[in-house]
Symmetry: C2
Subunit: 87 residues, 2 copies
């Protein structure tokens, strides 16, 4: 399935979260990832995230769609995925 993951977490945990998410999904904006992922792999990602996030302060939203075709994307400005390759 196709997912869109957006997080809003405390600065001190951002590096860890970014690194984790990039192992599973494509980075498209500051705190936004997208990609094809299985239900099992997504669960794995979220469990790992929960292990270090503080869910009173942090939040992660995941939007799932059976197919990316169902979502049309419009971009103003630049997508960051290019930049991501150098970090």
């Amino acid at each position: 399935m196709y997912v869109l993951l957006v997080y809003d977490i405390r600065e001190k945990r951002v590096g860890k979260m970014l690194k984790l998410c990039r192992r599973y999904l494509n980075w498209i904006q500051n705190s936004v990832f997208e990609g094809e992922i299985s239900e099992v792999k997504l669960k794995e990602l979220l469990l790992k995230a929960e292990s270090f996030l503080d869910l009173n302060e942090d939040s992660v939203l995941v939007f799932k769609s059976r197919s990316q075709q169902w979502l049309e994307k419009e971009v103003l400005g630049q997508e960051r995925s290019r930049l991501g390759d150098f970090l």
Copy 2:
């Protein structure tokens, strides 16, 4: 249609963008909005945003879906929309 809007913009323009987006959509996380909106209203929102954003530095992603039913949402931590009511 249902849209999900995510922005990553310079701090000095965040207040203006937040205020603009809240006139059209529901705030669900730091820089994330969702809601039902017409194509015309969305265009209006994006034109207004473009008038003050610097698209070399800022980016706005809009994901459109004909119906919210096509997207399943999973939340870790808290959705911010409640908080938004007080700001």
